[in-house]
């Protein structure tokens, strides 16, 4: 290896390590601040780590705001929406990928249009509909829409995957006399399993992190999700940075765990969405 080459390699790693450090620094600072006394937090020059590690901040955050209740509420919203998305987006995608029906082109172009439609555009009439149904301040407005295809993007993505499966598989099953639902469920769905897992993970993260929906539809503190609960926490603890950071860590931990467990599928999924478009 020549000297110039070695220098280039060193530079490459140097840039990457500095970049990675810059990415991790905010997260480190969050954890570090969450374990300090307020006196330590405000020291200058800043301390790298607490003089006395203070776990009590977490106790205080948990006791001043019912994060366990928020956690439960978040699960009540997230679990059925993920389920709804998996079932209805794959069904719809199968319909578009495998059957010819009048208006298919039109409806598919509507799906594509809906992908880039900002949700804010349809927010007000949707809100009016839910309030006429007296379902504002319940979880239904956050869950029910996902039983209708689970998001245009997911329908589009899964359709692309169904299209890559040779029709011979359907036809072979049809000779056996398998009904369409069984072809879809027992033959084609197993093929697109990696894509389905990715769609499920995306939906999980989207719902877990969603703030806009809960802000619009949930009024009672007893219904708050983690994101909404934390936003109120920010309002009342805006000077007690150690407690606030502890609360933020509590909210971040569940998605981080899911990310590391599902990482392989997740990276694959992100990759596939980019490549399939």
């Amino acid at each position: 290896m020549s000297a110039a080459r070695a220098a280039r390699t060193t530079l490459l790693y140097l840039v990457l390590v500095v970049g990675a450090a810059a990415c991790l620094l905010p997260v480190f600072w969050q954890v570090r601040s969450s374990l300090m006394t307020l006196v330590d937090v405000f020291k200058f020059p800043p301390l790298l780590w607490a003089t006395h590690t203070r776990w009590d901040n977490y106790v205080q955050a948990m006791s001043s705001s019912p994060f366990l209740l928020y956690f439960r509420n978040t699960l009540i919203v997230v679990v059925p929406t993920v389920l709804a998305t998996l079932v209805t987006s794959s069904m719809s995608a199968y319909g578009f990928a495998r059957f010819r029906f009048p208006g298919r082109g039109f409806w598919f172009s509507m799906v594509l249009g809906a992908i880039i439609l900002p949700p804010a555009v349809v927010l007000i009439p949707q809100f009016i509909l839910w309030s006429r149904l007296h379902l504002v301040n319940t979880f239904y407005p956050l869950i029910i829409p996902f039983w209708f295809g689970g998001g245009a993007f997911n329908v589009f993505l899964l359709r692309q995957f169904f299209m890559t499966i040779p029709r011979d598989f359907d036809d072979a099953a049809r000779i056996d006399g398998a009904r369409y639902f069984r072809i879809y469920w027992q033959i084609l769905v197993p093929f697109i399993q990696p894509a389905l897992i990715a769609v499920g993970l995306f939906q999980f993260f989207f719902q877990w992190n969603d703030f806009f929906g809960p802000l619009i539809y949930l009024d009672s503190p007893s219904l708050y999700t983690l994101a909404l609960g934390l936003s109120h926490f920010i309002g009342s603890y805006s000077t007690q940075w150690n407690i606030l950071m502890a609360a933020a860590v509590i909210v971040v931990i569940p998605p981080i765990i899911v990310f590391f467990v599902g990482q392989r599928y997740f990276v694959e999924g992100v990759t596939l969405t980019g490549i399939k478009m």
Binding site: L12, V15, L16, G19, A22, C23, L24, L25, P26, V27, W29, Q30, V41, F44, P45, T88, S89, M91, S92, G95, R98, F99, R100, F101, R104, W107, M110, V111, A114, I116, L117, P118, P119, A120, V121, V122, L123, P125, Q126, I128, G149, G150, D171, Y180, W208, N209, F211, L215, I216, A227, F233, I234, L244, A248, V252, V267, V270, T273, G274, I275
Partner: protein
């Protein structure tokens, strides 16, 4: 498409079954997209304020937006500034990181996870975190600036620094997806093509410009569209971190709409804002797709 197949179902039945399977999303489009779009348009022609019966105003809400609503113009300027700066910054940062990671780096997977990690942090949690990092008195970034012997910045509290600050935060939290997608595309660029340029005496720039850039252009286009559309919808940061300030310096469009509709109950006004947002995003989409024909090369497309 038309290939001979055994046992095709009769046309009418095929159509019916197709509709049945596609019905969730078709119903969803009607109930949650098309009807609300019409509803939104109708509301935008009224003075509805939730409490009293609406009156028909014709296009007065729209006229007011363009003639007497100072917030509307301001929020357009602020939002477009953010969209352009954020898209450019995210794009360049992601492409550079992906190009570096693609250099047969040891521990590529670990680096990729680290660069992706911030994307997992819920936006409300990262808003709390960055409020702290940007704190003008005790925040980490001003302490770093002081440590380097530089002047403190107001960050989110400065009218001229608020947007760049939010872009820094957004690049940190939003580039993960873009990097992973770019990296996958780069790994799909055929080696022999790159080697051919090398044999002809080309340097890294020739390789990038003649081979890599055209090969990854579909993914580049995808990332660009996603980034533009997402940036347009920035909301949480102005709601939680800045309340649209300072001096309306982060009065983003969707935040203005929320404020008009849900804090001031001016639903007619907010609906007009939402229709203009729809028209702007549609126009942007059309322009992008037209423009993409000139530089995006799809594999296998007749060229």
């Amino acid at each position: 498409m038309d290939r001979p197949v055994l046992h095709r179902p009769a046309r009418g039945r095929e159509a019916l079954i197709g509709y049945l399977f596609a019905s969730p999303v078709i119903l969803g489009l009607v109930i949650w997209v098309m009807a609300p779009m019409v509803g939104s348009l109708l509301i935008s022609f009224t003075d509805w304020n939730v409490l009293t019966a609406p009156h028909w105003l014709g296009i007065r809400n729209y006229v007011n937006l363009f003639t007497s609503d100072l917030f509307f113009g301001k929020s357009l300027v602020v939002t477009v500034y953010y969209v352009v700066l954020n898209t450019a910054a995210t794009f360049l940062y992601s492409l550079v990181v992906a190009l570096l990671l693609n250099q047969k780096v040891k521990g590529q997977g670990v680096f990729r996870s680290i660069f992706y990690l911030p994307a997992i942090v819920p936006i409300v949690a990262s808003s709390a975190l960055w409020l702290w990092l940007f704190n003008p008195d005790f925040g980490l970034y001003n302490q770093i600036l002081l440590g380097l012997g530089l002047k403190k910045s107001l960050w989110l509290a400065g009218p001229s620094t608020v947007i760049p600050s939010l872009v820094i935060m957004s690049v940190w939290g939003g580039a993960g997806n873009t990097i992973v997608i770019f990296l996958a595309a780069l790994q799909g660029v055929p080696r022999p093509l790159l080697e051919a340029v090398e044999i002809d005496g080309g340097n890294w720039w020739h390789k990038f410009w003649a081979v890599t850039w055209p090969m990854i252009s579909p993914v580049t286009f995808f990332n660009l569209v996603v980034s533009l559309i997402n940036s347009f919808q920035i909301f949480v940061q102005s709601y939680i971190m800045t309340s649209g300030g300072p001096n309306n310096g982060s009065l983003f469009y969707v935040y203005l709409m929320y404020r008009e509709g849900f804090e001031r109950n001016a639903m007619g006004h907010a609906a007009a804002l939402s229709w203009i947002l729809f028209l702007m995003v549609s126009a942007l989409g059309l322009v992008l797709f037209r423009w993409s024909r000139e530089w995006v090369h799809y594999e296998g497309a007749a060229g």
